[in-house]
């Protein structure tokens, strides 16, 4: 369970210290509200994941603000998957962490943790258009960085 919790936290945190902070707060919340856990509504890992993500987003909200940018639709930049396969995981993680905080959060929520734009908008209290804009920005930046590795 520890590995599971740390892997989620590390996607959102800037460094290990912030990850440890988020993780400790999340575990305390989990212990204090363990009585409210209902096994019929979902499994324990899903419940813990939600607590960790919420705590991570609270942390991100404290250190950054989400600018309101609207985007209805955008073309996805083409990325060669071979580049990703050849790139080290830590390097990719570094690229993601170099994204602006809000863009970083939206990208991780959408691309890795499987949230839809509507859910992201509700979580971060932004519009769906803003969520799309952040994702588009993340894709553009990552595409540029991954392409630069290739060259």
């Amino acid at each position: 369970m520890y590995a599971f919790a740390v892997s989620i936290t590390m996607r959102y945190a800037i460094d290990e210290h912030e990850a440890a902070d988020i993780l400790s707060h999340a575990f305390v919340k989990m212990f204090r509200s363990i009585a409210s856990f209902d096994a019929e509504k979902g499994n324990f890992h899903g419940w813990l994941k939600k607590i960790i993500i919420n705590e991570s987003l609270d942390q991100i909200k404290q250190r950054s603000r989400f600018s309101s940018q609207e985007l209805d639709a955008a073309d996805e930049p083409p990325i060669n998957n071979t580049i990703i396969e050849k790139t080290d995981a830590a390097e990719i993680m570094q690229f993601i962490k170099q994204l602006p905080p809000a863009t970083h959060a939206v990208f991780v929520l959408y691309a890795i943790d499987g949230y839809a734009h509507k859910e992201i908008a509700t979580q971060l209290k932004i519009s769906e258009g803003t969520s799309k804009w952040h994702l588009s920005e993340a894709r553009k930046i990552l595409q540029q960085k991954l392409t630069s590795i290739k060259t």
């Binding site: 305390v28 073309d75 990325i79 998957n81 995981a89 993601i96 959408y110 499987g114």
Partner: protein, 212 residues
């Protein structure tokens, strides 16, 4: 399966205009797979120490901000209520003050008329006119013998005693003659307008009582 597809070397180009459906691109799936390969940092001790420290702190301390927030809201409500009450009090106080400044509507004055004394003239307080009990009759005829008792008493300031007329003829009869009075000096008799206590009988001529 997505990971398998991503292994094939192809370029993706998808419009992401789907609002509710979560559709990660193949390269995003590939990134997710890659991130799972990240080594887990060993920070379990520091995390556990932090958890212990947070759990050891009393719950009241963590709930203090919420309590203070509630107290803040409560005090704000009390202040607002007090302000509203003060404003209402000021409004009504001011209203009452202005009411007091306006003179009350003139109530009808009840004129209590004293017992009518035939000798004392009635003064109409409302019209400031002297209303004699006895109707004064104008006498144009010259007095044959000036009897001071028969004359009306006036204010000394207005009274100009007339010298008795000298008679150049002998009186024809022995009938008593009323003294001469200047009509200009007599006060005007204003008809009273509905003053209580004065009836038509007050103006009745009762000349026979004294003269007779």
């Amino acid at each position: 399966m997505a990971f398998e597809r991503s292994k094939k070397n192809f370029t993706t180009k998808i419009n992401f205009d789907k609002n509710l459906v979560h559709t990660p691109t193949p390269y995003e799936t590939a990134i997710a797979q890659k991130l799972n390969q990240l080594p887990i940092p060993d920070m379990i001790d520091s995390v556990w120490a932090s958890i212990e420290m947070q759990l050891d702190t009393p719950v009241d301390a963590t709930q203090k901000p919420a309590a203070s927030k509630a107290m803040g809201k409560l005090s704000l409500g009390i202040i607002c209520t007090a302000l509203v009450i003060a404003l209402l009090w000021l409004y009504y106080h001011h209203k009452n003050k202005t009411k007091n400044l306006i003179p009350p509507s003139t109530a009808p004055i009840k004129v209590t008329t004293p017992a009518i004394d035939s000798a004392v003239p009635v003064i109409n307080s409302h019209e400031k006119t002297i209303l004699p009990n006895h109707a004064i009759t104008k006498k144009d005829t010259a007095t044959l013998n000036g009897l001071p008792l028969n004359r009306m008493e006036f204010d000394s300031g207005n009274h100009q005693p007339l010298s008795p007329l000298k008679l150049d003829a002998v009186p024809l009869s022995n009938k008593p003659v009323l003294p001469f009075t200047d009509s200009a000096k007599l006060p005007l008799i204003n008809k009273p307008k509905g003053v209580k206590g004065i009836s038509d009988t007050s103006y009745r001529i009762k000349g026979d009582k004294k003269g007779g």
